[in-house]
Symmetry: D2
Subunit: 421 residues, 4 copies
């Protein structure tokens, strides 16, 4: 018929099943290493889909307890789909990546946000809260997410890949491992650890490999937690569907990998597993600018944001400074991290006034399209950071009122089955 | 005639002359202290104007050299107008401040952005750049600013008070001084200093005072550089005209002071004197929510932003991580300040590719409506911070192009008359 | 496994095949009539998908000629999926419809925008241009559309149902038919006709029906072209995925029908088949407010727009007044339609200066996220209407320049195979 | 001192006093005619202020009765400041006008919105409502307006000139007069009249002129009510401070005139005197593009909107179609004006449900930053127009609720002293 002719679906370069543990699947890897061969090759200008499991590789379920989150094996994250080689890309080029769409699988219309234990994963307030596992399950209804564990809110997702990057060169990989080992050496026995060195346990590359190559990758491969010069786990919520990103290329073919898809995330992703984590499908179109690293002074990725990120213009904004005003009052020296934390604690205190538990508030700040700006970073000794709650995500009016705030009962999020909080 | 009847101008509670040095004027003070008496009192619900000198109190001129900036006496800043008592405000209340407008004096339609010397004031990159004084003069044309020292850009100002706050109680003042002295003790001889202790030299309160009171204020009064629990020098660009701010009240009358008006500023205000500094007029309307500190868990101000902040939706965004990739490659531990700096250095490198000098780029990032978000703050060891350049402020297209970037000649900003850079 | 449990896909209430002509499919109808029985029933609060063929029911193909468009049988449009009954809805209630998502079929990632012939369908400029069939095929790449027939643009879709409404009561249907017949009687022999009366030819209801009922529906059923009190073919681009709409209910169950999905559309949809027409899947969640018609004075639907409609803040805006300044100079009397047309003709003239053909410009204004505002409607005798071109959809800078506009060669859109234009 | 040097205020080219009737002031005119000499000349690139009286020239006062509005002498409007010649402008050029700012006089911080009588001025619903004079006085507090006559709302102004244009050539003037006389001839005795012919009574040019020239201007000068090819009374709210406008030039010097300043206005300005009318100061910067009329196909002005127009993203949107569903049910033929009116009536009915009187609702839709889009203009016979109420302007939540809308008591606006409504 008329409409069938020339109807060519966008090809899927990597297929996975979100219900099967990552280590049983092809096209997945969980370490960064230049020797991981591409599992697919694509021409510049060709749109394509890549399917991704959730970052844990199917370790977390849609249920009302947080035990699975407590027990996540973090040596096995993040499960990335790739690498994908782009024809013609060479070191020193700029890989232009159009992120055309990011969406969940139809068969798995839900995701989760989690608080990890202090001793397994941590999070921004792991020590302050002596964190125990907790989570919220989010249901996806088209562009919106809602949660039975955090009633009273509904928001449109800024869907994005938490983790996307090109493969490092051997030199770059060595640099990473060296500098991170240096930091670990300065802070031994920190809980949670300040950084993670290469670790063969849990390492995985879902393709046929000569034993020696696999061994090398597992022993040297950089862990996936931090963002680095190639992109990586930047967790930038605005690197979302519709954005255009410019990556430096370090190896022939660029070798793009992606995973850790997020339905939504707040700036900061504070609870560590703070986005709405999901399995899903990401759609790309790539092109190459020869010599782009030099042309654009490209030490790290740069990008143009999407025209369709949610527009919640009415906001309530919390300030934080680099003094521990929620704790012992310590004065820090121009520390934006402390300032961020104080702003977040101010917001959590406010959300608790309207009835959310501390865990719900922590999860909500992590998952909702919250914006955090660096206000000022030169007014010694106090960095000032703001955190903005979008008012449009709440079902009721949460603004300050003459008569005070109405405290509702929103229950509690999913916690451990032993009730430990 | 018909139109004259009932035309009642909004009253001006504090008048100053932007052309006269601050120490010769009334209604100005430059230290925070509970014993500074209010210079005016206003009823809740009454709109009023407050005039302000620029933050240096007329030390910087509209000329093409940066010598005046090099020589600014920093013991004499910031010059604040106030305090203004609001009838009925008591400790524990919340003071609601509508910032109704912020604008320059008609007779002084210009402002400046400055880089301070490493040894006098500093700035985010004072050490990296071994900063020497430099500046840009900005002309105000209605809602827009342009500069002969940074050609090729024009932008709408997010006009705001850099510094606004309620007076501290004696207890709060003591807390500030103690904790900041502690930090100074930890970092003696730092250049620039990590914090500034009370300093009678340069202290000023422009009203009649018993000698003992004046002496006490000058000896104990907190310096104005950092933002603190009462607001203060937060330099939050979105606390702009049209915003509504909720301040905690610490003394009877609240005693609101304001100054350091900015025509525009980028998130971070990185060059220290990084906003477009101006003298001008701010318009307020205040009200009180009794017991608001408890009602809203108010450890610091919270606010709702303005509906008229400039909308530059197309942006080019730079990423930064907590590794010194522009320097020696040091790995920092989840340090958002370092991440911010790296994002800014990436942006400066890009702006230099299109022809701006390093000084121009540094000033432009400070002064233009640049946005900086905390992307992720839990991906150990790398905090990830982004910095977004609004494309609409540039007269020409600065996006990455296949053929590379066109490098134009934008001259140089104002530097020292001895040519030292 | 962990992730599979409780993964319940959103159910699809109506399935169609976009490659099969509408008259061969179930669950489709193309007239409005209270006697069309619901094909599915849903409980309030249950999300569900509805699949839709394109508005012509598979009459238009992905090819480079416009012959199929020239020959579209307009007695067979619009093909709507439905009706769907919502449990508990009664006349006088308000049906709250959350439009959760609107997207194309994976297997048909393209759509079309068409100009219809003066003598078959028409369009806003059918007479002025003596329109001949022309079209543009758009490829969907995630959130973006591009066209080989209109190079140089790429934009994010404001995806929405062109046509959505509740079923009319017998009384409402009678009112429609009577008032439209009255208009037809006043303008006999108009080309294109001013309105379309009920027409059994081409009428279709894709379900088993007693002959008498089918005959009644075909003879009395209102045509689908205009929007009416129940919604209908409103072609409001901002009634898009993410919006919440409040419909009056006229029959038991409300009987919601939907179709004519648009990937994108400009305000006005000027070329008649002016949106990017597509087959696809729409996702809903409905609830009921008892007595809502009275509660909200609901003579027609009202709605809240989506937070994710594309944000193209930089625009070039054309004005039009109710004088035929592109034709014979006739002065009209406060006629916003004429003003709209003049604004559109001004924009078309501008687009032709940069190299688009008149047909391409006409199609682009129809399909892109163009905004048209009623500026003033009281300044006798001239209504003033504006039409805003979003600058961000163009690959190159189209703003007025000192040196004039660069005219590029963008080829031509798809026209008839006989070359008649 | 440092700051005084080089502080050069922007010059004011035309000064007026808003408290003195327009006919007693210089630099004002109220007809369009090529023979009105410029009152000032400016070089391209020079910023300048122009002061303007309100459109009636001081006929309306800040009081609580509408008698002055009832008695406005409409032969004496609009009072424009100008003309101002721009050096070097010639017919066929494009005059680029940067509207840098628009603000009220400090000494007159208020404005008004009015409903005119059916027999004097009219308005969109003059006949439907058999309008009697009514008004609302608005107080300006920085960027915001509030009204004692319409409590419960506060909004940021989209301040703009309602009326701005270049002088017509003799030929263009003749065209206007001829075509409008033609329309009047077709509709004799209409109330209110469909258009206004030249009228010496009330005509005014506030400068020395030879008698013959003055007589010619008064007898031939075009009335100022409608917008035309030169701009004129377009009442486009987004031609606001911060916008850049491109005007066609018809006479040597371009001869720009401006007046009818609005603090705020809704799309449509429906009550005729529907904006918040004010006296004030507008700031311009002009430049010339030679031959711009041909270069840009410039039949009418085009413009780029401001980056600082208020952002009220949450809205409640009303639909209207070209059927008189609020009256006798007449079906109109693709009439966007009727559709606009129905959308407005739907909104008025809704606002009355929450407690506003019909007059208050009519005034509010006229004055607030309401947006009206032409939804669809090709779905015969019904044009579809939408009207969007910004939710952020209301002090309380006005969204549809399960339990219905709360009806408050907002009193009434100012009406005639005889109480006739």
């Amino acid at each position: 018929m008329a409409t069938k002719a020339n109807s060519v679906p966008i090809p899927t370069l990597i297929e996975v099943d979100p219900f099967i543990p990552a280590p049983e699947q092809k096209g997945i890897h969980n370490r960064w290493h230049p020797d991981i061969p591409p599992v697919a090759t694509v021409k510049p200008g060709q749109s394509f889909h890549v399917q991704c499991v959730d970052w844990t590789g199917a370790q977390v379920g849609n249920n009302d307890f947080a035990d699975d989150l407590r027990d996540v094996d973090l040596t096995r994250i993040h499960n990335l789909s790739g690498p994908i080689a782009i024809e013609g890309a060479e070191p020193g080029d700029c890989l232009v990546v159009d992120i055309l769409d990011v969406k969940p699988f139809d068969k798995m219309p839900w995701g989760y946000t989690g608080i990890f234990e202090l001793h397994n994963g941590g999070g921004l307030f792991a020590r302050e809260f002596n964190s125990r596992a907790a989570k919220a399950i989010w249901d996806f209804n088209g562009i919106y997410a809602t949660s039975r564990h955090i009633p009273g809110v509904r928001f449109a997702g800024v869907s994005h890949p938490g983790l996307i990057g090109t493969a490092p060169s051997p030199e770059l990989l060595a640099t990473w491992n060296e500098r991170e080992r240096g930091l670990i050496a300065q802070h031994p026995n920190e809980v949670p650890p300040v950084a993670l060195p290469p670790e063969p346990k849990g390492a995985y590359v879902g393709q046929e490999l000569p034993d020696g190559v696999r061994k090398k990758i597992y022993e040297e491969g950089a862990r996936t937690v931090p963002g680095r010069e190639h992109g990586g786990n930047c967790d930038i919520k605005n690197l979302s569907r519709g954005s255009r990103c410019y990556f430096p290329v370090f190896v022939k073919g660029a070798n793009l990998s992606v995973g850790d898809l997020h339905f939504s995330q707040g700036d900061g992703e504070i609870s560590f597993c703070g986005a709405i984590e999901m399995a899903g499908i990401i759609t790309f179109n790539c092109s190459i600018i020869k010599g782009g690293v030099e042309k654009f002074a490209l030490k790290q990725p740069i990008f143009m944001p999407s025209p369709i990120d949610p527009m919640y213009s009415a906001r309530l904004i919390f300030e934080g400074i680099s003094v521990d005003i929620h704790g012992d009052g310590t004065q820090y020296n121009m520390d934006a991290t402390v300032a961020y934390k104080q702003a977040a604690l101010n917001a959590i205190a406010y959300l608790m006034k309207i009835g959310y538990t501390r865990e719900q508030a922590y999860l909500l700040l992590s998952a909702a399209p919250v914006e955090s700006h660096v206000g000022a970073i030169v007014d010694s000794p106090n960095a000032c950071v703001t955190l903005a709650l979008p008012l449009g995500i709440f079902e009721h009016d949460i603004l300050p009122k003459e008569e005070g705030l109405v405290k509702k009962d929103f229950g509690q999020c999913a916690i451990r089955s032993d009730g430990v909080l």
